[in-house]
């Protein structure tokens, strides 16, 4: 092996930096999944009957379905009866301020770097922090409330805005959409709800930090964002998880509903525990994310930076139903050691003059495998649809793999579909050039990787972009020198 190869290898052999367990008293129900468990979850959340029935129907659907056949993923069988489907920090009486919150919890937030207090005001970020399924604090609600914006936990929305939840839940991702969407619909514990009224431009970035925290607890988050005509919102989701030996299942559902001229920007930084260097442990991340551009000139933009999880299976998608609507997908997926990622997007063009853009950057290191899988579908009535796709893969070392599977289905001859794909190795020449100018190997690699990802970083909100760059460095760093 040449020196530069060794350098790359050392560089990419670092350990997960966010692994720890915090000691918060948990309220759990026993392992396993059956109708009783579904009822118990619903009862614990004090849900109305229609929602209980909705869950039970989903459970019936799920039982009829089969686990997907993993195309490019190598997955240990999941024992769905060996998972705890609900864990919440023990409820205390309602808190008036953060001072009343569990100090352990606050510590956890601080270690995560979540600026829950004054910093938030300065940063202009309202945070709905979800720790193990139940929202603990929701901030800025008042300020948002004045504009008619609803931003709260999903459970809260069920209690306070049942008519909205009932109207939109499952409207973008139906319960029978796929195996994990059905599972989530049956047992979802909590998540976030966001409603932007007509003509309102949300003045701040909305963000939610998800965190898996109880051993052996699957996470089944559910997020629903509804944007009325002429509204705008930028939503951030970021996560890190503690170290675990057992695989943890995470099957979230995110639904976005955008009406006429509404623009929803959804950004994710995902850094769950990827397993150790030998591929032991790590989170299984099977997420269904979809946005519906329901109206004229609706626009939905997904940006994701995926560095964590042992296995990622995720295709944030846009259904471009409204005429002149627009879908965007910007993605950086990093895999290292024994991680596997199968991610991409689906752009379903149904309306006239619809437009979609896909920019995907995969980075593979170690023994990992990184797959881009994307579907561009142009329906019969989608006259003058236009798609541009660019899928790049970067390999670090020679034992990892990158795969690209672009699927294109065109039923309308006026469509214009462009696809570009490149695969490159992080160049020994690039590395040498940088080190010849005095940069350390580590700095050189970070510089090259950041350059490669720039197009996607540019789509992230400023403070998130900085965080994402750091994360990328951590994910790929090691003991060089």
């Amino acid at each position: 092996m040449s020196d530069s190869m060794q350098t790359l290898e050392q560089h990419t052999k670092s350990e997960y930096k966010y692994g720890w367990t915090s000691d918060i008293e948990m309220d759990m129900i026993p392992k396993g999944l059956n109708e009783e468990v579904v009822k118990m979850i619903s009862a614990k959340k004090n849900e109305p009957e229609w929602l209980l029935n909705w869950r039970l129907e989903a459970f019936e659907i799920w039982k009829q379905m089969k686990e997907p056949d993993w195309a490019k993923l190598n997955i240990n069988p999941i024992d769905y009866q060996d998972i705890i489907y609900y864990a919440a920090p023990k409820k205390q009486k309602k808190l008036n301020s953060l001072d009343e919150a569990d100090p352990e919890l606050i510590k956890t937030f601080e270690r995560l770097g979540i600026p829950l207090q004054e910093q938030k005001v300065m940063a202009g970020v309202a945070v709905d922090a979800v720790i193990d399924s139940v929202s603990v604090t929701t901030t800025f609600k008042k300020k948002l409330g004045e504009l008619g914006i609803i931003f709260c936990s999903f459970s809260e929305a069920v209690q306070e805005h049942p008519e909205l939840v009932r109207e939109y839940i499952g409207s973008v991702v139906p319960r029978n959409d796929n195996y994990f969407a059905a599972l989530n619909s049956a047992v979802f514990s909590d998540g976030s709800f966001c409603y932007i009224p007509k003509g309102v431009r949300c003045p701040m970035e909305l963000s939610t930090y998800f965190r898996i925290n109880a051993a052996n607890t699957g996470q089944f988050e559910r997020t629903l964002i509804v944007a009325e005509d002429d509204s705008y919102v930028s939503y951030l989701e970021g996560c890190t998880a503690p170290m675990r030996d057992e695989n943890q299942l995470h099957a979230a559902v995110v639904e976005i509903y955008a009406k006429d001229r509404a623009f929803v920007k959804y950004s994710t930084v995902q850094n769950w525990y990827p397993g150790d260097k030998d591929g032991k442990g790590g989170v299984y991340n099977f997420v269904t994310k979809r946005g519906l551009c329901a109206g004229y000139q609706s626009r939905i933009s997904w940006t994701q930076v995926e560095t964590g999880s042992a296995i990622t299976w995720k295709y944030p998608s846009c259904v471009l139903k409204g005429d002149h609507s627009k879908g965007e997908f910007y993605s950086i997926a990093v895999t290292n050691n024994h991680q596997q990622a199968d991610t991409g997007t689906k752009m379903i063009h149904l309306g006239k003059n619809t437009k979609s853009t896909i920019i995907s950057k995969g980075i593979s290191a170690g023994f990992s495998h990184n797959t881009y899988r994307g579907l561009v579908k142009i329906g019969k009535k989608a006259t003058n649809a236009h798609n541009f796709s660019e899928c790049d893969s970067l390999l670090m070392g020679d034992r990892c793999g990158a795969h690209t599977f672009p699927y294109i289905e065109i039923e309308n001859q006026t469509a214009k579909v462009e696809h570009e794909a490149t695969t490159s190795k992080i160049g020994a020449d690039q590395l040498f050039y940088c080190t010849q100018r005095g940069l350390s190997d580590e700095d050189a690699i970070n510089l090259i990787v950041n350059g490669y990802c720039k197009e996607v970083f540019n789509e992230l909100p400023m403070e998130f972009a900085v965080e994402a760059q750091k994360l990328l460095e951590i994910s790929l760093e090691g003991s060089v020198g």
Binding site: Q430, F432, T435, R437, G438, L439, G451, K454
Partner: protein, 253 residues
């Protein structure tokens, strides 16, 4: 400052340098000339510490230390600069960001304070103007989509801001028109000083009209077969390399 003794270098089991001896003192400009494939670029890469260039015997002493013990970045911080024949493109990395990083990395190594954004801009603008370059090149991706001439000027710009002790310039003249050649040469000449050494690698004598060397060495088939002053370069221009070739040499003219 640089002492190369009986240096033998192989790349993938093929011996390229077959016993090179060369000494450069501070303030001197040495030119290495030779036909294609004679090992000129290899010498530059070995001095800079590139992978895959295996030193099988001999030694390189630089400023009193064993150069071969140092990694490429350490050599750079010790003041060795290699101007690349083919500068590498790094998409997405802005030229200005790269320049800032390398300047501060070298300054730090020298125990100097890092420059802040304003000082940096001032320095860069000054050097860019001296090289008749356009400031807009700072915003472009490093060497990405640069013309041949722009790349070479960019190399000289980097040299100018890093102020190395020993600059190795590998075919800096290739791909330059006469105006660019003049600008680049002026850039190099303005940096000549009593404490800085230059090793100028070139195929043609033309460059040496502008950068006038103190010594000229002819490298053929991995060995320095003749050394002299600047007049040797003129002689080579006139007579080619054939007359100087050792018996049995396989190198094409």
């Amino acid at each position: 400052m640089l002492k190369i003794k009986d240096l033998r270098v192989s790349v993938e089991d093929t011996e390229i340098l077959k016993g090179v001896n060369l000494e450069i003192k501070p303030g001197e400009v040495h030119a290495i000339m030779g036909p294609n494939g004679s090992g000129k670029s290899t010498l530059g890469f070995v001095l800079a510490g590139k992978d895959d260039y295996e030193v099988t015997s001999g030694s390189i002493e630089y400023m009193g230390q064993d150069l071969l013990e140092l990694d490429p970045d350490e050599r750079a911080r010790e003041g060795i600069f290699l101007g690349f024949q083919y500068p590498v493109e790094i998409p997405g990395v802005s030229n200005s960001n790269f320049l800032k990083m390398i300047i501060n990395s070298i300054r730090k190594a020298r125990g100097q304070e890092e420059l802040d954004a304003l000082q940096m801009l001032k320095l860069l603008k000054e050097k860019i103007a001296a090289l008749s370059m356009d400031v807009s090149m700072l915003k472009r991706s490093l060497n990405d989509g640069f013309s041949g001439g722009e790349k070479k000027r960019n190399e000289i710009l980097q040299m100018a801001v890093l102020e190395p002790k020993l600059a190795v310039l590998d075919e800096t003249d290739s791909g330059l028109d006469i105006d660019a050649l003049k600008v680049v040469s002026d850039g190099v000449n303005s940096m000549r000083s009593s404490d800085r050494g230059f090793l100028v690698i070139t195929h043609y004598q033309r460059l040496l009209n502008y950068i006038v060397p103190d010594y000229v060495h002819v490298l053929i088939d991995g060995k320095i077969v003749k050394s002299g002053d600047k007049s040797l370069a003129l002689e080579l221009e006139e007579r080619g390399y054939d007359w100087i070739k050792p018996e049995g040499s396989t190198v094409p003219a």
